[in-house]
Assembly symmetry: C2
Amino acid sequence: MQSNRYKAMDKRAFKDQAYTEISRITKALSGPARLEIIDFIANGPKSVEEIARQTALNIANASQHLQVLRKERLVKTTRKGNFVYYSLASEEVYYVWKSLRDLTLNTSPIVSQLLTETRNAYEIPEPVVWEDVKGRNDVFLLDVRPKDEFEKGSMANAVSLPLDELTDKLDIIPRDKMVLTYCRGMFCFYADEAVQLLQSKGYNARRLEEGVLDVKETDK
Amino acid sequence: MQSNRYKAMDKRAFKDQAYTEISRITKALSGPARLEIIDFIANGPKSVEEIARQTALNIANASQHLQVLRKERLVKTTRKGNFVYYSLASEEVYYVWKSLRDLTLNTSPIVSQLLTETRNAYEIPEPVVWEDVKGRNDVFLLDVRPKDEFEKGSMANAVSLPLDELTDKLDIIPRDKMVLTYCRGMFCFYADEAVQLLQSKGYNARRLEEGVLDVKETDK
DNA sequence: ATTCTATTCTAGTATTCTATTGAATTGTTT
DNA sequence: AAACAATTCAATAGAATACTAGAATAGAAT
């Protein structure tokens, strides 16, 4: 009781600590490398090796970044055989990432500019936004991510055909529908590469701007 | 064309720049002082002086922090007479703040702990969550923030009675209903102070855990 | 038990950023 | 011109950053 009195916080001290705590977590996410890691592992558990390869970091460095995220409990790990798999600790982590990304897209036009520039450089056609096509039934939804990511969760009625199997299994794609590809999200080019391939084979193909995690209509 | 080729970005370069851009914006928000500023001015435009007072910073320092936010276009300013009023540049900024706050509340129990400790120290009763009371019609919703914040936007059916006018105008509060006070949000103690006052006058009063901005049922 | 392999830790470095404040300055109002 | 709010400047001290190489660890496979 008495000791409670002494420890008792005034309101200013509480605020200082509360905002500092939120600040700590914000700083833990705030490096480019860690933002990219979060964007990546949101699609499913990944080993340190995969994360390092995807983000072009060396392994020790990727591990360091993962420790920073783990210290703040933003990611969790599971071990399978020899590998440690990292994934997001909660949905809230993804919401933060998503809101930061959307804020940036609205606030500084640079990212969207760079994105279209990059697409132009590769002669990739403009993406289609989900809002414009979600009602239609003359489209064929194609998930070109690795199988395990598809199985963890996919868009409703989507068919899985990972990018590297695309050439072999073209026959499962109908020629009378518009093929809509999608992948991990706005900053992932798998869907664009798929579109290029499909168009070169005479399909009517476009990519979806959003990824699975940005859209409500999902399975699982 | 040619020059486009040379400037053309490869995918890795795009990613580096995109995540770096998001990182820049994230770092701009990530200090405790700036998080508090955002939380504060979300309720309405505030002068530098008010912001400095609220956050216990000196004026020069508060201004510095505001410049950081302005450089990243997270806040906007209007001038009235001698004063410059700062407010959030867009709703997205608030969403980011909200998602960071909610992530922290879920991820590290410290903040909630400190909050209840502080309330205990002042012998403030436990808050009520909106979800539990929003259907009921035997409650009297009381907005104890300054008038201008109320006018900018309030909860549906709420009555405005700023904290410092409360003692004078007690007669407008019905005695047969439960009085529910609310203010700027979870880290604001105005509503708690109002509850203490009201309870001492024999009212059945509780505070709402959430603030206006966390609840859907609002006017304006 | 040993070997193997993926991951983590340690330590060091160089760099960059941080918040803060008093004083000088700008710009507005009266 | 005087008063006032806000901004900028300059300087400080301290902390945090990302990264890397090499050693250490911890499980799994043999």
